[in-house]
Amino acid sequence: MKKNKTARGYFLNTAVIVLLFTAFQILTAAKGSQGAFKLVLVPSIWQCCYLMVLAASLNLVLGFMGQLSLGHCGFMAIGAYTAALLSLACERAEWFDGKNDPRFLAVLIISVLAAGLLAALFSLLVGIPALRLKGDYLAIITLGFGMIIINIINNLPFCGQDGLALGSAGASLYKNGLGFGSKAKVQFLWFALAVTILSLTLLFMFVRSKYGRAIKAIRDDEIAASASGINTSKYKVLTFAYSAFFAGIAGALYACTNATLSTSSFAFTNGGILNSTFVVVMVVLGGMGSLTGSAVAAVIMFLVNYEIKNGQWVSLLPASLSGIFEYPMLVYALVLIIVILFRPKGIFGTYEFSLQNLIPDIRNAIKRHRAAKAEKEEAKANA
């Protein structure tokens, strides 16, 4: 019975994804060449894709394992540079000819995988010593790692100042490889969506597995977890690596989206959307322990960021108010404070959105709401 339900859930989700995917492909084919679609919507979707993967992967460590890591963008940077450099090398070796070459697709897939693997490898180097620490100490070590990795990349001869990011000219060095212009973004939109869906599915399967249960046990009580026979340090390190793998993949998608790379965009002091604290904000906003929550929060934060930068209503506000929007970090902080005030556990809490359980869940929520209301009225009547 239980197995049947799981199978039905997988079937339902796959069917809906395929349906949406086909609809989207048809839409792309029809509108692919139009300005707003090509220049605004598609790049936005690309950005949402990597933010979703990034936030969901950090949620694994922060929400499910309960370890605060402040260096997640470091792994993303590793992934982004790995993918860009690999595609650049393939381009220089002339292994493919333009983006329509089927061999380009192979290069693309290999670059993305390599980005994830290298990020995971680095996370092992950091994680094996660092995960023996707890709480604040781990946060500081990972924070330091995030800063160090940026400096290392900056000083590597093949990807630092003289390499990829050599002014605007150097930055677009890999544009014939992985760097996608707006036309290529439309052409490979299916790839971004597929990678995102696959990554989220793999993260979801991990959380639902026996291993997911083990890391939740570590979060709740490390002593009892180890008394239950879990090798806690092994699990912590492996989960950290699994999470970094997807951060690396998010980095690869980032490299595709932007077609230029500069280490400052991953730096801790960066005021934009991509710094490690910002990812933590996304996870907290969506709900620690809800992957779907992280995905939703990533989209929300992207929209907030987009509106701050491009929204026309901002300029209509009185000068005293629109002044705030000069400092995006201030607005993100306000959004976070408002959400925490009204929903202390984040938008989703630990609830996972699911198509199959949507109707029963809504029904239960209404029932609970009514019961609470009735109880309140009863209490009033008694008083």
Binding site: R213, D221, A225, S228, G229
Partner: protein
């Protein structure tokens, strides 16, 4: 059979356990009583490998537990119900129990054990979907005990199961311990509530500042003047 021989344990410069030796035979319920800071919990932690000992040995059915990694000890049939319950607060009751059977690979055995635990603790079955953190203290103690039983242990170490519970619940917990004992589970029970611990046990050891000061059949110890004066308040 659990055999502890001449166990010594230090916390830094403090000599916490000074040559403890004790034996728990198969099917026995043995109590370890003593006042605060006598070393009861340290003894249990040393046995289950959570604390490193400086000398002595712990043998489970003749096997030296010192040579086994702590997270493998549970696989040898020794389960530990930690002091203060330590349930996984943000996981459901059933998830908590499944965590107890983490090392059991055979899923059929897991569901059999789950049924067995639910038979011991019907209250847990009623609340299988509830988050463990929202259970009452007594229910959490049942959950911690049930979780330890999920591996079919040959010996159960219980650390202060009555801690922080109302007198009524203490009685209930001890009746459960007795039921487990009657069903043939070997138990090493650590308690501050000496009266109850001596009432249910076959044999008992009295621990005093890191040393075993007395040992013998529980009924005899309960009648001993020194024990009565020191621990039973009479």
């Amino acid at each position: 059979m659990l055999e502890v021989k001449d166990l010594n344990l230090y916390y830094g410069a403090i000599h916490a356990l000074k040559g403890i030796s004790l034996v728990v035979h198969d099917g026995e319920l043995v109590s370890l009583i003593g006042s605060n800071g006598a070393g009861k919990t340290s003894t249990l932690h040393a046995i289950s490998g959570l604390l490193p000992i400086s000398s002595g040995s712990v043998l489970l059915d003749g096997k030296d537990l010192q040579k086994v990694h702590p997270n493998k000890i549970i696989g040898l049939g020794l389960a530990h119900v930690p002091e203060g319950r330590h349930v996984f607060a943000r996981m459901t009751v059933e998830e908590n129990l499944l965590m107890g059977a983490y090392i059991v690979r055979d899923s059929k055995r897991v569901s059999e054990n789950l049924e067995k635990v639910y038979a011991y603790f019907p209250r847990l079955k009623e609340r299988w979907k509830q988050l463990a953190g929202t259970l009452s203290g007594g229910e959490q103690q049942m959950l911690a005990t049930g979780r330890a039983l999920m591996t079919d242990p040959s010996i159960l170490l219980m650390d202060e199961p009555s801690m922080g519970l109302s007198p009524l619940l203490v009685k209930e917990i001890f009746s459960i311990i007795q039921t487990l004992h009657e069903n043939g589970i070997t138990i090493l029970l650590v308690e501050q509530n000496a009266k109850m611990a001596l009432a249910v046990a076959d044999r008992a050891y009295v621990l005093e500042t890191g040393r075993i000061s007395m040992s013998g059949p529980a009924a005899e110890l309960a009648d001993d003047d020194r024990v009565r004066k020191a621990y039973l308040g009479a």
